[in-house]
Symmetry: none
Subunit: 130 residues, 4 copies
DNA sequence: GTGGTCTAGACCACT
DNA sequence: GTGGTCTAGACCACG
């Protein structure tokens, strides 16, 4: 389990964590009962403030996605139904919509935009696969 | 010349303006010497504070993309070479990269992601065309 | 760390701050990693608006001279090489050039101008030394 | 008679003109009865707005330094006593004071600062002499 | 505690 | 008419 943190990105760190956990759960890569890396481990690994990680986990707990197991850390909650394809696409849509707007304003045609997207997808595949 | 402002978006208004001007220049829809709508006009049209617009224009001036004509307004700087396809794709890449990361974390395959992107592109085409 | 603010000078306050930070960094009095006084502290100390200070800091961040440590404040960026004598003289040159033009237009000879400059330098030495 | 105009300088154009006339009169390079170049000529020569030149001349007229000769243009007023050395140095002092402050903040010693000033003076001599 | 954003309104300077 | 600067005060986000 590794989070992908960009400390200088415009979106705050705690939100990056929250969204990644949501997606990993939606995709089934994290399943009910799986445990998350401890606040301390994540904080050390990414050189960020433990309180930032804690805030993310707390939000996810409030949301019902995580459960706190005393003395053990956080685990994925049991109560979540597996997400449908529809749910996943709904999580992806905002990012695609932003990209579409930009492509249109740049005057790029769909073919170019789709090709560029394919390239990016390939790069991320490499990052995760090996 | 119309800006596309989403007052409730997470990205601040002044930054939305900055980015749109960058793209409109990159795409050639704004050319060197063209003048921008005045701070007050933009502010009134979108019901936002003139200072917010002014901040955006100032940043673009610092960046060298705009020039101030004292007492007259802002114009696109003369010193910019026409953008290449490379430049345009560079402006699009960050958004595509974000979307790719999300798609991978959701466990969607490329075919699904590309189809969803095509759908979004079509929607934005409709928004602009008619 | 004290800024020298002249509220009634023709050059705007935020610019006075920007230029002083540039010089303090160039002279090595501020080094990479040093943190700056917080926006609120500077604002209170000089009885100016926090936004004025914030504007200065933001510009310096854009310039790459400062880095934002989220939730902690601003620090001098790590990426700056120590300035050479050349750099320092480059920051001084515009002011000397202005003074030279004025001296020439007044018909003063170099000896008089240099003597007057020496006098001014002495006065500033007194201001800082004791 | 040539004005030295820097359109992108921070000090407004009209003020650049005003100050230069003041200095040229103080130095005796412009004497009572001498006529100034017409608004139209100055405006064309420097590609600036005639109203800007006019504003400068009007200010100088209000100040009593210029007189309007109908149909002939502006001439240096008769009523001015020749400036003393003291007066001239007083006009130079602000610029020297600014330069001194900068030099001190940069940590330059007086010798270096004076040498740099001498260099600048030489450059301006070349600009005017030949 | 830190800085960021936005508003409302004032005043100034330039053309 | 144009943009620039500053203020006062509010609210948010981050650590």
């Amino acid at each position: 389990m590794n989070f992908d943190i960009a400390p200088n990105a415009p979106t705050p760190i705690y939100r990056q964590i929250v969204e990644q956990v949501r997606r990993l759960v939606a995709s089934g890569q994290l399943r009910p009962g799986d445990d998350l890396p401890s606040v301390r481990v994540v904080a050390l690994h990414h050189a960020i403030n433990p309180m930032t990680v804690s805030k993310a986990y707390s939000l996810l707990e409030t949301e019902g996605l995580l459960e706190r197991r005393r003395g053990l850390g956080m685990v994925i909650a049991q109560t979540r139904a597996r997400s449908t394809q529809q749910d996943k696409l709904a999580l992806l849509r905002p990012a695609l919509s932003t990209a579409s707007q930009i492509a249109k304003q740049l005057g790029l045609d769909d073919k170019q935009a789709l090709a560029a997207f394919q390239t990016c997808l390939n790069e991320w595949s490499k990052k995760e696969a090996p």
